[in-house]
């Protein structure tokens, strides 16, 4: 389908242009917010490969983000044999370490599916925060580790927040392109085949164990990169930076973005950031309704808002933002296709 390819390529170009131009029009603080949205986006791309394409659920991706974040912290604070590594170069290493952890989790995951896999991965999410407390010499315990503040390298004349924005979205675009190549090729077909029918996939020569484990590894790599960026942007890591609920937020973002839609995940990433940090704004909007008077500062209100918005979004858009986009553009591509 040539028209589909052009649509996707031009969509990607537009996205890249928008990413490059946006900081001119927004405040430094908004740039920082969008950088964090970009990090969620990266983690969601990985989760989409795992859950959307290979059909394996993970309620533990926050732990892979944490592995990435802690890798960056250890390498840039403790260093290797006394040599501290610049934060920038720790990002790929953090991805690889988290990816290896993902492969490791992928092996037992071969024997499990559905609810059981969800529980096992959730177990990882729950138990991970205990590790830094146990190995507090190395990982900083509950107080955590403090990193150097992020600053633009090579004497680039830009603010730290703008630098984090460009760094995150630059990496996000590269990883988006890589994921796009992966899912539209042989590997992506094999993953989807496994998701849709394991017996037919095996009978077609798809090695189930290899591809399912690979999906876990790739997915955890993405989460690790996201976690590394998150640690750099925050300039500290402790167990609360990667809370258990983060894993749940990621699954929420995936559902909102659309399981199979890579670009739609930006909407999912935006929503999970927005609802975590701006639930009070939503509360004020809701207060416009007659006979309602929520106190935005009251504890519990943000979580409640999160839940209510999530229910409304899923009722209105059961296939996520990606499903809506496909309905809009899908008719466009079919029309192109039947005319040619």
């Amino acid at each position: 389908m040539r028209s589909r390819l052009w649509l996707e390529l031009s969509g990607f170009t537009l996205l890249a242009l928008a990413v490059a131009a946006l900081p001119r029009f927004i405040s430094d603080f908004r740039a920082r917010e969008l950088a964090i949205v970009g990090m969620y986006f990266i983690a969601l791309i990985g989760l989409s490969i795992l859950t959307g394409y290979s059909g394996q659920i993970s309620l533990g991706h926050g732990a892979f983000m944490a592995i990435g974040g802690y890798t960056t912290a250890v390498l840039s604070v403790n260093g290797v044999y006394g040599h501290q590594i610049r934060d920038l170069w720790t990002i790929p290493i953090a991805g690889v370490i988290a990816g290896l952890a993902g492969l490791l989790v992928g092996v037992p995951a071969l024997r499990l599916s559905g609810l059981y896999l969800a529980l096992i991965t959730f177990g990882i999410a729950v138990s991970f925060p205990q590790l830094p407390k146990k190995f507090d010499h190395f990982l900083g315990g509950t107080t955590g580790k403090i990193l150097d503040l992020a600053k633009p390298p090579f004497g680039l004349a830009t603010t730290p927040n703008n630098w984090m924005y460009y760094l995150t979205w630059g990496i996000a675009l590269v990883l988006l392109g890589a994921a796009w190549l992966l899912v539209r090729g042989k590997t992506g077909r094999a993953l989807k085949a496994i998701r849709d029918s394991e017996v037919a996939a095996a009978s077609s020569g798809v090695k189930l164990a290899t591809y399912k484990t690979l999906a876990f590894g790739i997915s955890a790599f993405y989460a690790g990169v996201a976690g590394s960026l998150y640690a750099i942007a925050n300039a500290y890591v402790n167990p609360d930076v990667f809370p258990i609920i983060l894993s749940v937020y990621l699954v929420v973002g995936l559902a909102v973005g659309g399981l199979e839609s890579l670009v739609g995940l930006i909407a999912g990433a935006g929503l999970i950031y927005f609802l975590q940090n701006h639930a009070d704004t939503v509360a004020r909007w809701i207060n416009q309704l007659p006979a309602l008077n929520l106190d935005p500062k009251q504890p519990g209100i943000p979580s409640m808002i999160f839940g209510v918005v999530l229910i409304v979004v899923m009722l209105l858009l059961p296939t996520g933002a990606g499903g809506v986009a496909r309905r809009l553009f899908g008719s466009l591509t079919t029309r192109f296709y039947t005319r040619s």
């Binding site: 017996v199 009978s203 798809v206």
Partner: protein, 237 residues
């Protein structure tokens, strides 16, 4: 008797708990043959397919292909050995286009057959960008067939290809299966309930009943075999 059969199912037994799905069953398929495998519901036909394609491991016996055992090959390696199959209840990849379904068929043996060519052959090229879910059941079965052909197999296992077809379509399917055998130089093992189809295309027929092989022969021999008639119609009163 040929020197070497392409496929040899040799004394295969397979039990599920207390149920004996296959009881020391043996049969062969020689290169270029269309072999029918028939029997009432629950006779073990699909179990035999699943043993040949390694989805099940037999409790006893051996399955040989080109003279070498298949039992050391994992399920995903079967297609590399040259065996492709379709499924009784259509196992298509629901979230993929027809073309991508067929491309997965060529996953392990790319270059044997061009997926686009196979789709032309089975007359599905015009729907290649559609989802298989939008197609009628009989057409979905054809997508499965195309997926199996995309690997360029030597042996094709067809599990009830006539499911969901009208009377005229079954006649056409019979001619199509023979043409398929000739054009792709295939050996075909056919599980089918539709007796007319099996009798018109098969060179030889094996009959299973309650996991045991009760008869073997040409279609006309099978039709007059008392044991077969009894299995299908019940014991005479």
């Amino acid at each position: 008797m040929a020197l070497l059969a392409l496929l040899e199912v040799d004394n295969v037994s397979r039990r599920f708990g207390g149920i004996v799905a296959l009881d020391a069953v043996s049969f062969t398929a020689e290169a270029g043959e269309i072999v029918g495998l028939i029997g009432p519901n629950g006779a073990g036909k699909t179990t035999a397919f699943n043993v040949i394609t390694r989805l099940y491991t037999p409790d006893e016996g051996d399955v040989r292909f080109n003279g070498e055992t298949l039992l050391e090959t994992p399920p995903s390696g079967i297609i590399q050995r040259g065996i492709a199959r379709t499924f009784q209840n259509v196992e298509l990849f629901r979230g993929m286009t027809v073309l991508d379904n067929v491309r997965v068929g060529a996953h392990a043996r790319a270059g044997e057959q061009r997926p686009e060519d196979v789709l032309f052959y089975v007359n599905l090229h015009s729907v290649r960008h559609r989802s298989p879910l939008e197609l009628p059941y009989a057409t979905q079965k054809r997508v499965e067939l195309a997926r199996a052909l995309a690997s360029g197999p030597q042996l094709l296992l067809l599990d009830e290809p006539a499911g969901g077809l009208s009377h005229e379509e079954v006649e056409q399917l019979g001619k199509f299966i023979k043409r398929l055998r000739d054009d792709f130089e295939l050996t075909i093992l056919l599980v089918e309930h539709h007796m007319g189809l099996v009798m018109s295309v098969a060179n030889r027929v094996h009959v299973l009943d309650f996991g045991e092989k009760i008869a073997e022969g040409t279609p006309s021999e099978i039709q007059s075999n008392p044991a077969v008639i009894e299995a299908y119609l019940g014991a005479p009163a």
